[in-house]
Symmetry: C2
Subunit: 254 residues, 2 copies
């Protein structure tokens, strides 16, 4: 079987954050599958086809991409950020697991990218400078009770928290509920970073505290970092404060 | 104050994973500070100075880099992987917090990179395809009791776990103790990925299960991913199995 499928991470948004490996993989593809706004970031190449789909159609996109690779094409599937973080790499694996046996013979590769949590952190300092976790707030694929259980476990144990998929048209209340729950486990002064479209022209980064953090400050393009109890600000004259989590941690008081 | 300090993520090791933004930042520096093996990855530029130090001297390196920036130099400080993940960005913040007030006036920027956990994940499939955490096993900067508490919290709540700094000459037993503890919270079949020097010439990736995972499979250049209870293998004829964590999670049974 001569087909090949590469899942390519585009990074957070700017061309300066697209790795050379990702550029090479995109250049080599006969056809590129992806969510429309991600495909728009892929440099045009004569003769290369594009297959765009909605961002909720991940498994369908994975199945179509694998079918085309099985016919012999060199297929790229793109994800914003890193494809291994709440994105297409797991969808491709899932489709292979459930699909025809011949898909297991395909050459499948994954090209990592900078995931948005890391790009947001870099904008403000080092809020993920010690132990941290990444958590999707979407309850489309897991019960909300699991989200709450994980938020509680992460905050109580002292992890800084990167929140992905914080809000969507069909999930308007989840982020405020998450802040509410986190307020019962963390100091109200805990820094909360809202990073929207980092690396793109419409980037907006804002630092709040947990007491006043509001779901209305986020949209579908926002990644949020909630600090641990150790995370703090360094105020600077004429510059934005740095947000950072020290490399050392004390024994928990609880 | 005309000095500038940029903390630059070099990614896991190959030139193909160094972002264009990182290349530009390195090119612009008058002087580059870093741990020797990382400096060796920085392309040589005529007239650019190098300041190498041991990997345990992070705060000292940060202080010297900030002092030189405060004198007007364009300084780059390099980290392997992402500088915001158990690396130099937090050390620079710490040094600014404790240092002379004029350091707060410096132009400080951070250029993110691909952190090793994401590079290791990409090699085997999508083990971080759902909620996950990153945890440093070093008890130089936090009590071992905190490490154990966080391992337990993460495994019980269903996070896949990326383990950084798993072992060193002065910390020989911690990784085996971590596996032992995780065995009491996760199925013995849970996949464990050992990714050593990913992206470099001496790369070695091995997948074990939690029952047989051993600290002797890791060294200082290894990043380890322990799956959640949902993480599984997809066996493939004539190819390495894929390791992945499905995008959906069931309600926990506990």
């Amino acid at each position: 079987m001569s087909g090949r499928l590469t899942v390519v991470g585009l990074g957070p948004g700017s061309a300066g954050q697209l790795t050379p490996d990702a550029s090479v993989a995109l250049e080599a593809a006969d056809v590129v599958f992806g969510y429309g706004p991600y495909l728009e970031r892929v440099p045009n190449r004569v003769g290369q086809r594009r297959q765009r789909s909605d961002n909720r159609e991940e498994i369908d996109r994975a199945n179509r991409a694998l079918a085309e690779a099985a016919e012999g094409a060199h297929v790229a599937v793109v994800s914003g950020g890193d494809p291994g973080v709440f994105a297409m790499a797991a969808a491709i694996c899932e489709a292979i697991e459930c699909g025809p046996g011949e898909w297991r013979e395909l050459d499948v590769a994954i090209v990592p990218g900078i995931t948005s949590m890391l790009a947001v952190a870099a904008r403000v300092g080092a809020p993920l400078g010690h132990d941290f976790c990444a958590l999707s707030l979407s309850d489309n694929l897991k019960p909300w009770s699991v989200v709450e259980q994980r938020l509680k476990a992460a905050a109580s144990a002292g992890f800084a928290i990167g929140l992905y998929n914080p809000v969507s048209r069909s999930r308007p209340w989840q982020l405020d509920r998450a802040f509410e729950l986190l307020r019962t486990h963390l100091p109200s002064s805990t820094p909360v970073v809202f990073g929207r479209a980092v690396g793109r022209a419409d980037e907006r980064v804002r630092v709040a505290d947990l007491a006043t953090a509001s779901g209305s400050d986020a949209d579908m393009s926002t990644c949020i970092i909630v600090g641990s109890a150790e995370t703090r600000l360094i105020e600077r004259p004429n510059r934005a404060a740095l947000v950072y989590t020290p490399r050392s941690a004390r024994a928990a008081s609880t």
